[in-house]
Symmetry: C4
Subunit: 218 residues, 4 copies
């Protein structure tokens, strides 16, 4: 491993990342995090299932796990869709963009943990703490994603020449209020865990809603 910062600037420049391998690596991390969410859903123990109500009741009793699973799956899925959209606009990645993307992936890899935390504590007096931590990680995702976008797009630093300025401006408008929503969720979660998580869920579902506009141009 290198102990000094990369600094080649010859015509052949190993530091100029073409985006495809970074996309593939990011996809790998995101795919693993999203798939492993379901591994936190627990199979009821035999003793739980033989109590009054049987297996079905024991399963239904685990509803916070399903709620946390579905919410986290949709959040990561939407993040992936946005990640994919942004990377299509990128020409290359430099060192700083790689590190920012790495921080984003680090945050994504924490989602299964905070998801598990919420599922475990949603029906305890610590629900607010758990929900606030969940909102904090979601906020972290939105903030890092915004910083990443600002970095690559300011003065079109790493943007493909074929991308029109209006497309960049449109993304800027869309992302302007993203972090604010998560700040609101974080604050509300300190009062009511369900309220804070509710904002995140509604926001995610709003994005996932079927679109009536034709978005396919070519």
């Amino acid at each position: 491993m290198s102990t000094s910062q990369p600094g080649l600037s010859e015509p052949f420049d190993a530091n100029v990342k073409d985006t495809s391998r970074v996309e593939a690596f990011s996809d790998g991390v995101i795919a693993i995090a999203i798939t492993l969410l379901a591994f936190q859903i627990t199979v009821p123990t035999l003793s739980e299932a033989t109590e009054e109500g049987g297996l079905l009741t024991a399963l239904l009793n685990n509803w916070p796990e399903y709620l946390a699973f579905a919410t986290s799956f949709i959040i990561i899925l939407i993040l992936w869709i946005n990640h994919h959209r942004l990377f299509k606009m990128l020409r290359v990645l430099d060192h700083n963009a790689l590190i920012l993307n790495g921080l984003l992936l680090m945050n994504i890899s924490l989602v299964p943990f905070v998801s598990d935390l919420v599922a475990e504590y949603l029906r305890t007096p610590s629900a607010n703490t758990a929900a606030a931590i969940y909102c904090l990680v979601s906020l972290g995702l939105a903030v890092i994603f915004n910083v990443f976008w600002r970095y690559v797009s300011s003065h079109r630093r790493l943007i493909l020449g074929s991308v029109p300025q209006e497309a960049i401006d449109a993304v800027n408008r869309q992302y302007r209020f993203g972090p604010l929503i998560y700040v609101a969720a974080l604050v509300l979660s300190l009062v009511t865990a369900f309220g804070g998580l509710g904002i995140i869920i509604v926001n995610a579902l709003w994005f996932a809603l079927p679109s009536r506009r034709s978005e396919v141009a070519n």
Copy 2:
């Protein structure tokens, strides 16, 4: 993350997905889900293995785990083969297709959980409940897959221009009765767990049977 729906419609359109990264991401999720099926097979504890019969008996005693593993592996494998076939016909993916594909992946990621559930409860009075939930997730896979296909293929919405209409019609015919088989499995599983699972296994093996027709054209 975006809080409003994407709506770029410039000549450069970041919402027009080329299919390759979506395929790669889907492959990642499917590969993880299918590989982790085997992690539910338990190594007998030393105390189990020192009981009468030794390790081999203790292992054979876990046969529901192997049955659930093999069945779920083949189901996911077949789903992947079909996913692969469909994506070869697609020109692009729009927002709705991405969300439907995401729902499909969400359902796939649940297969290891329901597989584990069946393995755990197949020899208990809750076998019917476990088998019905397994059939329900399988039915969900078939239904979402059909909705996905109807969406992308109706009026050739997202289909490559080079795909002849007969190929689309052939897929339509093939998929017509898929969900019905899983409905039958679900209903039967409420009466007999083995019956319901049996339908799913026979259906999967039928698909996996060696083909005598030459399918390689080019």
Copy 3:
């Protein structure tokens, strides 16, 4: 999901697999299986580590885990190298080749389980049973790999036109005795667990030995 066998044979043929996505999916499964081998290495409990000798002794006491990890890692790595070599010769994959490849992946996904089994039972009276099962899965890998190769290569069924017949013959010669070695390991493991596993390790190391021949031609 389809309930009947695919049978399109139009000029556009969705059943004709280009090999790249199958390779990517196979790589995903193999990468997951090989990476998760290390997750079976256990961190000694605090009570184990405070016994006489401390943490280092407790760690060294887990040597069967490290042996199983290293052996299984090398076996899967070699299998991947061979998988990669074969796929470079393939023009397309048909339905049967896809199913055979799927069976190979199913077997690969079992390696972490049997690896865990050997690590757990190598120092117990059940060592022979555990080692035999490990050898059986290894034999299964070799047999399925051979069947896969025979299927795709006989009469050059799915082989690229640019591959010379001598290259095919060379692979045929190399694979001829592979399964026999695993049969020997299986038989020997019933007598001595270390003997059976030893054959597999020596065979793997032999393959991994540095090569003095220049193999890079282009």
Copy 4:
């Protein structure tokens, strides 16, 4: 699987690896190892969270897990960035390079284990042992990475023709002292666990620092 070394040398040479599939496989292994680091972060048990201080105190009490997670994530991320840089310079991979890359991946797959070990033992009398093993694996990564680079770059054995000699010399200079830093960390960890780990953390953060030099050329 082959039991003899590959030795084809015809114009069509299945042993000549194009680098893309090796990169994809390596990315898969690295992505899995880095994502699973977060799965070692434990959700406090309900009894821990109901002790004095509640959930937040119980979470903060697990700080060694977060430290180990962040450190290991950054180490693997940097290794991936370097792996990516090197592979961009490679024309092909031969048998030996494949095996060396495999050894590197084997070592990477051990990082989650040693990360877990450090998190578990950092506040025990065995902290030095745990930290030393962590440093040892890190040193192993640096050494194998260096051997890999020396092998592929000496006499430009596997280097693309378009890569200027100065780029190779620059990498040589950068990697010269990498292993020495990890030797220092290893030695220091035997005296003070925090000191040894501190060297590794500072070294990683130094690499990850934002760069002011423009590294994007084209």
